[in-house]
């Protein structure tokens, strides 16, 4: 029923920002693919779609949804699903991914990736929603692990058990955000390497790397915020290296969504990722 996991190259991509349009076409440097946020390309026409079409002629595109609200208690928004299907048909992207999170409730859209508890009930809901998405789009999707700031007392399984079961039930793939792993592990006082070691890396079709901010929780413990507004932190690079060593090279994305820098800064981050993908032999 569904097509193969994705056709992204096993190189480095960046999150596309319109201010970099000319730079990317003129000098993509090591960047071999681009990722867009689906919701920014759901207008009827104009410059956003014209630029996206021009880029898609040169680069494989990954469509990354941020508003489908797969973790909603209620049903998926049929209008939004129809818009995604339209974009998917028009663009024929190399990959489609979304988040293990919710953002819509009672007709309101809250523009954040909100957390859900991991229970048999939420497992069934998320699985049903992913089935619906994959049936609708006629392709396999990747589900991204969240950044966690808190936990739910009601959770009855850990995140990896939840994700494993979702992939088993739906046949979806996973998007492993290594920065999210580091942020969640720090915030919830877990071992990030142990998380990677337990993660079903064979299901991973894409890796995300991004920057985070540092804050403190109610008791003065470190609280990291997944802000995507700076360079990837050194311990996240180390965790990325560990991930590659364990699971092999995957299509890897540099995300930078706030305080977007000049193209050259993103290129430097991309080069650093490339160096990890093709290490100099000892």
């Amino acid at each position: 029923m569904t097509r193969s996991i994705n056709s992204l190259p096993k190189g480095v991509g960046v999150g596309y920002k319109p201010q970099h349009f000319s730079d990317i076409l003129n000098d993509p440097a090591p960047v071999t693919w681009l990722e867009i946020h689906a919701e920014n390309y759901m207008g009827a026409g104009g410059r956003p779609l014209a630029q996206l079409r021009a880029l898609s002629d040169k680069f494989p595109i990954s469509v990354h949804g941020v508003g489908l609200s797969i973790g909603s208690e209620g049903r998926l928004d049929p209008d939004h699903l129809a818009r995604l299907k339209h974009l998917n048909t028009w663009l024929e992207p190399a990959s489609f991914s979304e988040h293990l999170a919710w953002s819509t409730h009672d007709m309101g859209f809250y523009n954040d990736l909100l957390p859900l508890p991991y229970t048999e009930t939420t497992l069934k809901t998320v699985g049903d929603h992913i089935d619906e998405v994959q049936d609708n789009l006629g392709r396999q999707m990747l589900l991204e692990n969240p950044s966690s700031y808190l936990a739910f007392a009601e959770s009855s399984m850990d995140e990896i058990a939840f994700l494993r079961e979702v992939t088993k039930r739906t046949g979806c793939g996973l998007l492993l955000d290594v920065n999210n792993v580091f942020v969640s592990a720090t915030n919830l006082q877990m071992d990030a390497r142990a998380y990677i070691d337990a993660f079903p890396l064979d299901k991973v079709g894409e890796i995300h790397l991004g920057g985070h901010d540092e804050d403190e929780d109610d008791h003065g413990a470190p609280l990291l915020i997944d802000s995507h507004g700076r360079e990837v932190a050194d311990p996240v690079w180390a965790l990325f290296a560990h991930t590659i060593k364990k699971g092999g090279v995957k299509p890897t994305l540099i995300e930078w969504d706030t305080d977007v820098p000049d193209w050259s800064v993103l290129v430097d981050e991309a080069k650093r990722a490339v160096a990890h993908l093709s290490p100099v032999p000892a």
Partner: protein, 246 residues
Amino acid sequence: MMPNVSQSAFIQAAMNPDLETPHGIVGPDGLPAPKRFSVYRNNIIVSLKEAMNDGFPAVASLVGEAFFTAMSDIYIRQNPPKSPILALYGASFPEFIAEFEPAASLPYLKDVAGLEYALRHAYHCADATPVDPQAFANANIFSATLSFAPSVSALRSDYPVTQIRTAALGGPQPTGGAEDILITRPDLDPIATAFPSGTATIIDALHAKLPFGEAIEAGPEGLDLPAFIGTLISGGAITKLEYDNV
């Protein structure tokens, strides 16, 4: 039995700082975690305020950052987006401003917001192929009915709102008074062109499929007709001319 946190309870508390953190939201120690919960309170409002700042830069400039932030905060909590397409968020902001008493001393602010929204809306409208400009040389042009590109719209204001917007974004100080505004999108960048009050009536009449000549007669005296037609042509505003009624 552990307390279940419904998404309804989560979002109510996230959008209302006076409410307590829902029972059952904890840190790694299993204890209540209000500061952790506040990350979401902050993320939601800050990201939507950014969307408002991006969408209404002239309004923000006219009222100043502190006022705009406070006004946006109230607007967002009363009118959260109804769709994940944030590029089109804020359609009801002009009406909100009209009713927002602290902004009453700036009676033109509603129209500046309306103009900014109309330009943003036009930016995302469907593409359309305009008629060849030569088609306007037809001797019977005034008997034709016209079809507009989706990006075309007309606004009315009691104030020189295009100039107020330009001034707010760093241009010269506004002069003049009431105006109607024609929004067109030559290629990909929308523009707002000011005409005398009453010009929008022509656009309405053309939408209602009155022949071009009759529609123009419904417009104001003193309209610079060549300039008006020139804006329609250069703006790629007309996608079809039909002569069924000749």
